[in-house]
Assembly symmetry: C2
Homo-oligomer: 343 residues x 2
Amino acid sequence: MKQARPDRTQGKSFVSAQQVADRAGVSRSAVSRTFTDGASVSPTTRKRVLEAAEELGYHVNHLARGLIRDRSNIVSLVVTDINTPYQAAMIEALTRRLQAADKVAMVINSSGQNASVESALRQTLHYRADATIVLSGQPAASLIETCLNNGQHVILVNRDDPVPGPETIMVTNRTAARQAFDMLDRAGCKRLAVIASAVGSASLSARKKAFVAAAEAAGVPVSVTELGPTAYQSGVEAARLVLSRADRPDGVFCVTDLLACGFLDAARNEFGLTVPDELCVVGFDDIEQAGWSSYELTTFRQPIDQIADHVVNLIDHHTQIRQVQEPMRFQTQTVWRKSVRPR
Amino acid sequence: MKQARPDRTQGKSFVSAQQVADRAGVSRSAVSRTFTDGASVSPTTRKRVLEAAEELGYHVNHLARGLIRDRSNIVSLVVTDINTPYQAAMIEALTRRLQAADKVAMVINSSGQNASVESALRQTLHYRADATIVLSGQPAASLIETCLNNGQHVILVNRDDPVPGPETIMVTNRTAARQAFDMLDRAGCKRLAVIASAVGSASLSARKKAFVAAAEAAGVPVSVTELGPTAYQSGVEAARLVLSRADRPDGVFCVTDLLACGFLDAARNEFGLTVPDELCVVGFDDIEQAGWSSYELTTFRQPIDQIADHVVNLIDHHTQIRQVQEPMRFQTQTVWRKSVRPR
DNA sequence: GCCAATTTTGCACACCTGTGCAATTCCGTC
DNA sequence: GACGGAATTGCACAGGTGTGCAAAATTGGC
């Protein structure tokens, strides 16, 4: 059934709708309508067109289609630290759903120099993306403002910019952080510590603050450590710093699982501590590694699937309003494993 | 300096070059040439155009540009298991370099149903991508054939399809696998095992076969275990299976670090074995977790940066030849850590 | 100031598609 | 077979850009 296509070794360009029309003996409009949902074509011509298209290897040029319609069906994902388990999982969930909705994801790596980020983000506008999804705290708010000014539909995930326009999706950071305190408190921890990072986003900052507030309200001493990027190595270094103190903590809340993994490894392998007997650790995100048997980390799961579902829903049903919107908040799910003593 | 743009709340479409031309008092061609590299514009008009563009918030429409030129500056990355450390690192490296080359990455998630993969892969053709980079063994060869038939520039990474057309990039799998045997042999291991997966790609298969061949050539007994996908959990299950045997192996080669992490965890936490004294383990890829202090995995690093560099080079200098091409092979780098006894 | 050589500019066409509108065809009914 | 209504089809325009070509403007030299 599969027919060899006329070879394109001559550098001949792609097949156009006109060529299909000629071959099928119909007008170009008929070809266009055949590939347009809800357009009126008789079954006869539709069949002829499809056959001709198959023989010639025709594919609708989405560049031209996007030019005519207002929507390009491209969605930009702006993300830093792609090779971080949490972000990678987010990209996986989003690309899968976008494809199911006949859209396609354009990934913009916003790590690195701010200048290159800006030029990359401009691609969002260049390609007339249907929406821009910002997954990380990295790109400056001014760049987002640029997108908004150009009528871009911007969706912020786990950010907290009080600018008018973008829709915002968050997680119940404060509730979870308070619960983290409760868990450690009930486990009998007397000296608490929270491990964050130097470049943390608003989301991480909210977790940190809520934990500290809860501890102080309960009169439990708590120390705050923030160094390096939000990465495994930062957790290791934080552990070295914090655990070598005379009054080292016996309960630790790491605002990210990645930090928690580093902290746990250093605590066990460098300080010889046993978890959860001598030290309790709580993480955040529930990345895959948190479930690995070397960690068995008690943590809070971000409902990535729900978030991704909601994001693509937002893209479809979009009404342009430029006012500060109340963020949509998803509840985290507590995942009890073995890094905290059961009550 | 930054000027507020005329508000677009009326749903007004994007700014076009014509509007910029009107405002700058020049022809539309002048605007087009201003934003085209190597075009002839006088400094005076260039300046006027840039000012008008800034004021109006003009952005070249890459859909229209791609329509005129043959190249859309979009590069498709076809990848399964995005939230796997190795693939995520690859995406990070590629997106970074593509952006530096003024291109943009379109990520196509080829996990899941084959039908949806096919429709997603079609996007590559719809958007007239400059090239398609296939990062995983998942999509069927027939889909790649479709891309090739449509004149797509296809680059295969760590695949081994003997079809004419695509350029192929590989890693010295066999050399590394043989070296893995040498490492275990010199460490004094007497009973070897290789852990692969049921859905392995050609690359993984090559590692497995080369290791087995080396072992058999040296007269050392070796068992092969292949179950489940290429994931942590498969490593755990393989360990449960293999280590509960009476003559359990004392030297194991996992064709992937992810498998090795699972194997190590199960070996230590479920069987109480000490590494590397009672068991030596070698992995492949050098994912980030291999360096975490719970694993300290001896492994082979894939030169991801070099591969990514080479890929974008291939995209730029592309001569269309439809013949089977010798794969470009990159050498892995041996990373000695602590999961194998030093000689 | 004049002329030739070079640079710059504008016009018009091309790229490929979607769609409103009017003309045509089709179908069922009398 | 005629006729009314519905479905289908083709025409022509629009969408935003790049670029060859000829006209215009600029530059340099004398």
